[in-house]
Symmetry: C2
């Protein structure tokens, strides 16, 4: 997933759900490019990680899909289901707690 970073393991679902909460409708390749742009190339989301993650989220009922052909190429658009809209709220709170705890454990922030 990362250039040099084991740390992102486990964060991919949350990242996908949040991007879809922001942009409403994205396809896989677009997600990889968006992640690359946001992190200025520091996090390269691999296809071997992304596609299985998208399929899993869809199987869990958090994502819905619609397929289109654009410029003679297939695009599979993903968007949040109603359940996905709820779940992204939980995931983001977990992420906030995670970052808070990690900063405490690594002394990266004073305790306020």
């Amino acid at each position: 997933m990362a250039v040099n970073n084991e740390l992102f393991k486990g964060t991919l679902q949350t990242i996908i759900l949040n991007l879809l909460a922001e942009h409403h409708r994205m396809y896989g390749y677009e997600i990889t490019q968006k992640v690359k742009a946001i992190t200025q190339g520091e996090l390269l989301l691999k296809e071997g990680a992304l596609y299985p993650a998208l399929h899993k989220l869809e199987a869990e009922g958090l994502l819905e899909t619609s397929t289109e052909v654009v410029d003679n190429r297939l695009r599979k658009y993903y968007s949040l289901s109603q359940e996905g809209e709820k779940e992204v709220v939980n995931k983001l709170q977990e992420a906030r707690d995670f970052i808070q705890n990690l900063q405490l454990l690594l002394n990266l922030k004073p305790s306020f």
Copy 2:
């Protein structure tokens, strides 16, 4: 590793190295209790994760050990090697970058 949190995957080495940078000398059980205390019980470091991680860091030359018997019980103390002292600096910078990027990806912080 966590109560309910997949997110900590990959952070354990950094957490261990940083705790040892702070406390100079700790044994395994002590590390589990320290992590529990710092996170107020939110992160429970499992033995099945901790001990293999300690052994790996030792095998990589980042940790040194000395065994003592205290109250008739064995304690294996770990401390940073010279190489470990250097590596903890890198790991902490990686962790800072990771948190920064994750916050950007999750909109958990304005961009400054």
